[in-house]
């Protein structure tokens, strides 16, 4: 008996719920040598900004107990190069491609939305409203009003589905989520990394050059999972659950809490083959439970469980 892992959401049919989260998988080209990307439901491409960005000075990464802290700082070639050089090659990446953008002003959001809108291979657009790693930059998702404005700006520039990627470390995630939905988001990504740091006790200074960075990995899973649960409880909106998914059990927890799709970032860095192991695990769990469709377990924790 086959198990149907597909998920229909945003008007798209994902062959399975696994999405490579924006960042750790880059644009997919390098990763492709180590992972058959056609096996995952989708890839969210590395976030692109209006202008090219070098990213932050090193060190950009440090690990902690159960996690890693990064301060890459949105290193990317900028939207022009993306449109002209990257986009034409995207058909090589044989799964659903979600574009990711980050504006520094409302105007930038608009332009980025328009540019992405024209790329045929991009099936949905994710707004990275929550990257904590750009010095001096406001984190959009930490302000409901800004969140709303950014989404509106992109909403006006494209008919493609819009995914708002929110920050988990806000006082009231449900409130921000509602604003995002009202502003026109078709789905929410919950969440991003959480501002964190490590200090090198030998030098007495922060380990990262930027001082702080964003925590990802197993450490944040129970936190983001609770955010997904809360939002799914309060709103009818597709959710991509992202944060600390390292194995199939983690992925299932997110689905049960209400996530239609599950993103993986850090796990890809640890082991590029991780998605395949996760998919296998999900499939055999569902088979053993006699569940025929993955979609049946989405949000089951809100419906009394099995």
């Amino acid at each position: 008996m086959g198990v149907d892992l597909s998920v229909e959401v945003l008007g798209l049919k994902f062959k399975n719920p696994l999405v490579l989260a924006s960042g750790p998988a880059g644009f997919g080209f390098e990763l492709q040598q180590y992972l058959d990307i056609s096996k995952v439901g989708a890839i969210t491409l590395k976030t692109v900004t209006l202008n090219p960005r070098e990213g932050n000075a090193p060190p950009r990464l440090v690990d902690t107990h159960g996690g890693i802290i990064n301060s890459i700082g949105l290193q990317n070639p900028g939207i022009e190069e993306f449109v002209n050089i990257i986009a034409p090659k995207l058909k090589e990446i044989r799964t659903i491609k979600i574009g990711s953008i980050a504006g520094f002003t409302i105007e930038e959001w608009k332009i980025l939305g328009e540019k992405m809108d024209k790329i045929k291979d991009i099936k949905a657009i994710e707004l990275d409203l929550s990257c904590p790693n750009v010095e001096g930059k406001k984190i959009w998702a930490k302000d409901e009003e800004l969140t709303q404005e950014a989404i509106k700006a992109v909403r006006e520039s494209t008919d493609k589905p819009i995914i708002a990627k929110l920050a988990p470390d806000v006082t009231d995630i449900v409130k921000v989520a509602k604003k995002a939905v009202n502003a026109g988001a078709d789905a929410l990504s919950l969440g991003n990394t959480i501002e964190a740091m490590r200090i090198n006790i030998e030098t007495g200074l922060p380990v990262l050059k930027l001082k702080t960075g964003g925590l990802s990995g197993p450490s944040i899973k129970p936190i983001t999972l609770a955010r997904v649960f809360r939002v799914a409880e309060a709103l009818e909106i597709p959710i991509i659950g992202i944060g600390g998914v390292m194995n199939w059990q983690d992925a299932l927890e997110y689905a049960m809490a209400g996530a239609s799709l599950v993103g993986i970032g850090t796990a890809i860095m640890v082991n590029p083959q991780a998605p395949l192991e996760i998919l296998q695990g999900i499939e055999s769990f569902l088979r053993q439970k006699g569940v025929e469709k993955f979609e049946d377990i989405i949000g089951i924790a809100h419906r009394g469980g099995f």
Partner: protein
Amino acid sequence: MIEAELIEKRTAKDYGLFKFKLKEKLKDPDAGQFVMLKSPDEPILAKPFSIYSYKNRKLTLFIKRVGRLTGKVFSSPIGEVFYVRGPYGIPYIKKIDRDKKYILIGGGSGVAPLNFFSELYPELVYKKLYGFKGRYIRELFEEQSSLVIEEESGKTVVDVLREVYSEGLGVLACGPIPMLKTLPPGSYVSLESVMGCGIGTCKSCAVKTKEGIKMVCKDGPLFRKEEIQWEWI
């Protein structure tokens, strides 16, 4: 990832040679390439280690104990299972001028890739200078003549290099940044950097070069000394 069982270990204080038996073979490992080594539990991140030697699914790493993963390797009993993936990075041989002979200069754990290089390309090696602080390191190596030990001679590898270097020779170096910075122009330097993925996707291991940002894992680890914007590191 490939299961890697620890089958031999020899340590001297904070340095050690660790031999792992792999479940599958590495694909054409070459000198200068590295593997990502992962502990079965903490830390969750895999970390890069140059190949010190490789034959018949037996991988030897030369490791300096500095933190959590390396500490775990040191304290592991024979039989402990780790995971590796790789090899990654561009082999030295693809970047260097093959018409030269090289002085190999290693500082501390930087000796690892140079050892593999001298195993694979002995004909390109003019001299080996493997620098360490303390004489205890002699326990670990059979080939004692390559060792430059500060505690014994008061000299660093860089001091000795100045004595033996002559125009026309190449320099292939791996070691701490301050050491690399003092090398003669034209030297090839193998950089270390904190890594996440090891394969060029995550952008953790950035180095600034004359041609912009490059990734140590994918575009390196070997660079020409002149390419690097040292002040950024």
